[in-house]
């Protein structure tokens, strides 16, 4: 199966990103051990220069990671006709045990890379590199995850057997199946609807207050995390039904298809963007007390909040429009 153009590009991309992260980690380790801002030694100057390189590498790695997440889902979707029983990415990912773990790792790694870049951006604004050790420790935590993702992805593509009979999304995303998704599908609709609309409204309201007045930072961070999770749950539980206009189809992948106007892409972009900026804002909150960051952090947080609120607002608008224009009525 490896001789599919998209698979070749995904594997090449992951290998290159892993290489970049390994390189960055090697110097990250050196920085953790030898960093001393007070010293004017050649080693210290060299390390200070390296920080620029690592930032650039990480920005590139994250951009590619985001692209590869969507390319991976799209490739899985496109390959569905090759497997008996698969009708979209849901079935293709189930072809062997590596499909879903790879997808999950890709999402986690992207979120982590996003948060790391926010940390890095904040650190670069302080004149005395206040977060340098923390951010490189975080990098050392991320690199193995990235390597595991590359290995899982390679295993997934290598072990693909086109003759395998896999499940179609119609059977994977039903309440009769087992696992987390079945639990989500089986949830009663009304409480999920209330949690989604209520949670989103509260998040947006607190977000707007935060953007304007700079107050309620922590509650907003918590709410944005909650909004991301509940949106993902609501998407499977009831939102997808309106987009498909089918009361039984809960698949989170079919909305990425042409038949539904690729509406899944803006939805997931908004959700991931909202989550990473919302949580990222909270992650830098504890460093507000640092002298060199006291003025910088509120500014960064406000910027992040504006992006996060816009992302959630976009998500809500697409959902509301989709439900309003749908021919399906669940009541």
């Amino acid at each position: 199966m490896l001789l599919h153009p998209a698979i070749i590009s995904l594997v090449t991309g992951s290998l290159l990103v892993s290489g970049m992260l390994l390189y960055a980690s090697y110097y990250g380790l050196k920085i953790i051990r030898k960093w001393n801002l007070l010293s004017g030694s050649e080693v210290q100057l060299g390390l200070e220069r390296r920080t620029y390189l690592i930032s650039t590498l990480m920005i590139n790695a994250m951009a590619f990671q985001l692209l590869s997440l969507f390319l991976f889902i799209y490739t899985a979707d496109r390959m569905a006709p090759l497997f008996v029983g698969a009708m979209c990415a849901a079935g293709t990912l189930k072809v062997n045990i590596w499909g879903y773990p790879t997808l999950l790792l890709k999402i986690i790694n992207w979120l982590l890379a996003g948060i790391w870049l926010i940390l890095n951006y904040t650190d670069n604004r302080g004149y005395d590199y206040p977060l340098i050790r923390k951010k490189y420790a975080a990098l050392l935590f991320m690199a193995p995850l990235m390597l595991v993702e590359t290995a899982a992805q390679a295993a997934y593509f290598l072990q693909m057997q086109p003759a395998v009979i896999t499940s179609c999304c119609g059977t994977l995303f039903t309440s009769d199946a087992e696992g987390v998704t079945a639990g989500i599908v089986g949830l009663p609709k009304t409480p999920v609807e209330i949690a989604f609309y209520g949670g989103m409204f509260l998040t947006l309201a607190v977000g707007v207050i935060y953007c304007i007045k700079g107050k309620l930072g922590y509650p907003y961070a918590l709410l944005s995390l909650f909004a991301s999770v509940i949106s993902a749950v609501a998407l499977i539980s009831f939102i997808s039904l309106y987009f498909y206009e089918l009361p039984t189809h809960h698949c989170p992948f079919c909305i990425l298809q042409k038949e539904y106007g690729f509406v899944g892409y803006p939805l997931y972009f908004a959700l991931l963007g909202g989550a990473v900026t919302g949580v990222g804002g909270a992650m830098i909150m504890p460093f507000r007390g640092r002298k060199s960051l006291a003025e910088v952090i509120p500014r960064i947080q406000r910027g992040l909040a504006v992006i996060s609120v816009s992302c959630f607002a976009l998500f809500s608008m697409i959902v509301v429009a989709g439900i309003a224009l749908s021919n399906l009525r669940l009541r």
Partner: protein, 377 residues
């Protein structure tokens, strides 16, 4: 706004700096474009062939049933139709008569098909454009066929199919049932194969299993299986060519790395002066980023445009023999242009990503030069 203004200025400077080293940069863009062009051509070509196959097969019957004798395809008795009709869920069963005819006068193979609803007049035939091109006796409009008993059968061309469907019917001849049976000395009560229409597509696999149980000497073939095979074969062929091309890609990235690492004394001085004037390391890195973006995007889009022309206007003359296959009657077809974001992102991953990775470290090296040492040198 200030950020945009800053980047606009840096971009402005980058463009003028690129223009100052026209020769070096143009040669890089040229080679880069060529690499993108090669890979894009393969991707576009295989993708359109896949789409074409899908479109053609959309109207194909959902299931075909063939009889096997000693593992080979054989004529199927018409009595099998009644057995199949009994299976619940089968909407209709029809028999088909078709075969191949080798024309020794020009070495071509024709596909002969009986389609009573479209053509039933004895003595005349409907032919594909490929057939019409290859027949010698164009003036008379008659093709001589040598029948299986040694006599000759002269059939007049009544009509030639339109060009739109050429890929599917270049070598096709529609013939009446009587002429078909005479030509091949075809036994009565037999057909080449049977085609089924099924009410619910989800039942296809079950019906196929039932057929193999009831009629163990038959082989049901699903349309889905054919589509899947085409998809796999074209993806595999495309992937194979890309793997071969990866050598070229690798060579290019070594070149890119070399070019980016080997900064000329003049360039080093330029960066030294910029830093001396107050540019920060990040500003120089931004400049290098814009430089890479300008080169990459120009080459990427130029390469894609060239590949588009190559595949859809010249029917990809460079790859045709390797990817398409050959035959005496080859359909002369123009592929329908199909380009998707999926192909573009695959291409992006195969070309721009490696280029970017290859130039990050050299760019950083350039950006962190010490202005003092450079200006003194």
């Amino acid at each position: 706004m200030r950020v945009i203004e800053k980047h606009r200025n840096i971009l402005d400077f980058t463009l003028s700096s690129l223009a100052r080293r026209k020769g070096k940069n143009l040669s890089l863009v040229f080679v880069y474009t060529f690499v993108v062009f090669l890979i894009a051509s393969v991707t576009f070509f295989t993708h359109s062939l896949k789409t074409e196959a899908e479109v053609i097969l959309r109207d194909a019957p959902e299931m075909m049933v063939q009889r096997l004798v000693a593992g080979r395809h054989d004529l199927i008795p018409m009595s099998y139709m009644d057995t199949i009709r009994q299976i619940r869920g089968v909407q209709s069963v029809t028999s088909r008569l078709w075969g191949y005819y080798f024309d020794p006068t020009n070495g071509a193979n024709y596909t002969l098909l009986v389609k009573p609803e479209e053509h039933s007049t004895s003595g005349t035939i409907l032919v594909g454009r490929g057939v019409a091109r290859s027949v010698r006796s164009k003036q008379t409009g008659t093709i001589p066929f040598k029948t299986y008993d040694g006599s000759y059968l002269f059939l007049r061309i009544k009509e030639v199919f339109t060009a739109e469907s050429e890929l599917a019917n270049a070598d096709l001849i529609l013939i009446s049932e009587a002429d078909f049976k005479r030509l091949f000395a075809y036994p009565d009560g037999y057909a080449t194969d049977l085609v089924l229409h099924v009410r619910n597509a989800n039942e296809l696999p079950t019906i196929a299993t039932k057929i193999t149980h009831l009629l163990p000497d038959t082989r049901p073939i699903l349309r889905e299986e054919i589509v899947r095979t085409y998809d796999a074969v074209f993806s595999w062929r495309g992937g194979l060519v890309i793997v071969v091309l990866l050598g070229v890609v690798l060579a290019f990235f070594i070149l890119a790395w070399e070019k980016a690492t080997g900064l000329s004394a003049e360039e080093r001085r330029e960066i030294g002066i910029l830093k001396g004037l107050g540019w920060e390391t990040t500003d120089v890195l931004f400049m290098k980023f814009w430089e890479g973006a300008v080169i990459s995007l120009s080459a990427f889009f130029l390469g894609i445009l060239c590949a588009y022309g190559h595949v859809f206007f010249t029917s990809s003359m460079l790859f045709e023999p390797a990817l398409k296959g050959w035959s005496v009657i080859y359909p002369d077809f123009r592929l329908t242009p199909v380009i998707s974001a999926y192909q573009i992102s695959t291409l992006f991953f195969l070309t721009v990503l490696p280029y970017t990775v290859a130039t990050i470290v050299p760019a950083w090296r350039a950006a962190t030069v010490d202005p003092d040492t450079v200006m003194r040198a």
